[in-house]
Symmetry: C2
Subunit: 173 residues, 2 copies
């Protein structure tokens, strides 16, 4: 009995060590950008609207950018840099023609949100994510973290928006 | 003093009569559709997201469709017809290319919300708006009601979406 308990304890500790070291391993192996955000922030679908977006070309997506309370307050107050605790969510969907709407309009003009393509997050924690400008980046596809390799470009790309603390989306009135 | 008070009372009563009769006058003069919703529902910018949309062509707009708590609950529960108290808001903005984003992407692909073009509402009250399928329709431009003539098409157009209780927008997960 005692040996089984010890064995279980060893497994739990080992699991903890693996979980703890995983981000560092991913970092070393796949990317110059640390990937820290591995869980979907709860309740994000109830957050308030920051703005909307449309990416043509290969992405072919339409999106809503939502913010938690900290984010919305910072946007409305014009606070820069965004305070720790800010979370910005970008909900992306396929940009699909609506046959239903076009029939009513009498012409092909209407595009709506198709199936979800991904949900992306930026989480501000200036200490934890100091290596990436204070932001943790995440992409979830079907509720699962996107492959680490696909996250390589998050920080270098967002880092070009230094004037707005690495955030591209402006607040829509 | 007494005469001034009486005069003021008369003005207040008259104003009330004018306000009360205005919708009926508009109805008779400009449209077969009653226009009832003359005030912007308070707090709509804080409502939760239903979905996003993009109208190409002459409208050239990108939009967010938000719902009050009654609307969001009905959408999520799949309740049809929508219960009284439902309010759906469509916030429309110019669909404008983002030079800032395109520079980072290295190609012309990104469109964002430009200046607001209008905010439209559908307010469900099956008694008050019985003549228009239970929905009051409204368009506000720069915070002011759009001309009554421009509202003529709301009900006949939405009335083609009978299967979804006159609502075009589907809920985006």
């Amino acid at each position: 009995m005692k040996r089984i308990t010890l064995l279980l304890a060893a497994v739990v500790i080992l699991a903890g060590v693996i979980e703890f070291t995983a981000p560092a391993s991913l970092h070393a192996a796949d990317s110059d950008t640390p990937i820290f955000v591995t869980k979907i922030p709860p309740g994000y679908r109830d957050w308030r609207l920051i703005s909307v977006s449309h990416e043509a070309g290969n992405l072919n997506s339409i999106g809503a950018v939502l913010g938690n309370d900290v984010a919305i307050k910072a946007y409305r107050d014009g606070t820069l840099p965004y305070p720790d605790g800010t979370i910005i969510a970008a909900l992306h969907y396929g940009h699909v023609a609506s046959a239903e709407n076009n029939k009513v309009f009498g012409q092909a003009q209407s595009f709506v949100a198709g199936a979800p393509t991904n949900v992306q997050f930026m989480v501000k924690d200036s200490t934890k994510y100091a290596a990436a400008g204070g932001w943790g980046f995440a992409t979830f596809i079907d509720g699962k973290s996107a492959p680490a390799a696909s996250m390589k470009s998050c920080f270098p790309c967002h880092n070009q928006a230094k004037a707005s603390d690495l955030v591209f989306t402006h607040y829509a009135p």
